[in-house]
């Protein structure tokens, strides 16, 4: 099970995620980001999209992944609630995401997220011992 904690940042909002695998950490960051925008438990997964992003490092990949979802949220008018990473390596991510149209959740909307930033971004995995634990941290501009 992944664990999501909000970071107190004066102007904006941040999240810290711990998960058993890197894939789950990336999925949980996306879940946490949309949780800032809507009561995510209400959002049904009727619509699905495939997402692919490339970057030079896990940190850049995480930021590109989240910013790609924000782009799709605004252009496709969708809120996403379920994230399934299909492939993930240091330079490439492929995922299938599920959601529903924003117009169906007018009563459940919170704040808009403008972007995921590179400020204090972290992706770390502890591969020693039996417990593989991955941690990710992102600050959003809201």
């Amino acid at each position: 099970m992944a664990e999501i904690v909000q970071i107190d940042h004066t102007a904006d909002m941040g999240i810290q995620v711990s998960a058993p695998t890197l894939k789950e950490a990336f999925e949980s960051c996306a879940f946490a980001m949309f949780s800032l925008m809507v009561r995510i438990e209400k959002v049904q997964g009727k619509e699905e999209l495939e997402v692919e992003v490339s970057a030079d490092s896990y940190e850049d990949l995480l930021i590109s992944w989240l910013n790609r979802l924000l782009y799709l949220h605004e252009t496709e008018k969708l809120l996403f609630s379920r994230f399934e990473i299909l492939d993930l390596d240091r330079s490439h991510l492929k995922a299938r995401v599920y959601g529903d149209f924003t117009r169906n959740y007018q009563e459940d909307l919170g704040r808009a997220v403008k972007a995921a930033t590179h400020h204090l971004v972290k992706v770390e995995c502890d591969g020693t011992g039996e417990k593989n634990l991955c941690r990710a941290q992102v600050i959003f501009d809201v």
Binding site: T10, E74, L79, R111
Partner: protein, 483 residues
Amino acid sequence: MAKVKTLEKVDEYRWALPTSHKEGMRVHGMIYMDREMLEEMLEDQALEQVANVAFLPGIVRASLAMPDIHWGYGFPIGGVAATRVSDGVISPGGIGFDINCGVRLLRTNLTFEEAQPKLQDLVNLLFTYIPTGVGSTGKIKLSESAFRSVMTKGARWALEQGYGWSEDLDHLEEHGSLPLANPDVVSREAVKRGHDQLGTLGSGNHFAEVQVVEELYDLHAAEVLGLHKGQVTLLIHTGSRGFGHQIATDYIAVMGGATRKYGINIPDRQLACAPVTSEEGERYFGAMACAANFAWANRQAITHWAREAFEQVFKRSAESLGMHIVYDVAHNIAKFEEYEVDGRKEKLCIHRKGATRAFPPGHPELTLDYQSIGQPVLVPGDMGRYSFVMLGTKKAIEETFGSSCHGAGRQKSRSQAKREVKYKDLLDELGRKGIFIRASSRETVTEEAPVAYKDVERVVDVCHGAGISKKVAKLRPVGVIKG
């Protein structure tokens, strides 16, 4: 406070952060603040961010912090950095995601007594006419060619479509259109994201606020600005919406590569940058200017609908209601401006990240009617207290590259505000003060509660005391619409 000792007190309002604070700082930091505010500021990472900005190649004079400075992402919010165009860099993080987020003030000739009986109708109609909140889309759908015109013409495009009066442009910073905008360097993604967002307010700290002029500090200047005690005004705060966010996102990624390519040493990835005159630097400026122009067109369209809402409620034309624009300022932007550095004129790239241009009387950029008083600096506070109108000064040119504060500055995080503030209690409290609010999201309202912000009067008083702008009027909110 241990950290205060790392600062050198220059006078009551100025604190210097020496280059010895962090290896790699090219210039010192200069923080405009009183001692009490300074101690509050040292509780988060804003000071380190002032130091980090001082790493930027080509930075001159100092990494500046206005009194509303607080912890941002990369640059502090409330930061000003000037880099030499000849050998310095431009950093998208020094402008931010909401490019040309800014504030516009409209006046009316209504008194509060005249407006009060219809205030709720007015706020409700403003809320209907101006789309707000997460994912909101506007009434304007832009074709590809129209979008290119928005990018290059800014507010002038809106005017050509019938959104506004020809005199409006005279009272906008840059006349509502930043030169060097280049639509060819804007991504298809940015265009797709912005094509239905023109004329929308957005969410977060953006708002439109009906206000009353409560106090005047400079009667002559207020007269020139057309401001009188007891008069109703309207303040609009918004920016370039998803279009600007996407341009910033695109170019921060580009600048990550450029920082490596040009071998630039910066302590925070969000400060990624490129030489101003490099291909990457020029492309970013061209795209940034497109977003700045989108924001001016956005505020112009919103102005038009606000005028229509007033007309509908008060059954008089906007002209007869005297709904002139007092001024419109950008507070997240980069500009090329000339200043004297070490005894000679130098062309600089001024990054204002949560800071307002504050040009003095006689500045050639100002229109004739404001030549004698200087440029209006609009400083919004929180929704429960007040906002201020100030004016630019010669001292701002000498010290802060013609810059001043941009708002109250947050003192509590959003989650902290949400924990402490109950939505209903807040509405009751605002109601007792005679403030009526309409919002798309309860969460936004509680996060933006007055308690989350510093008292903007303290911020304004430091700017006034330090001489980097001067107080003219205090405006009290009576009706608010929010995202």
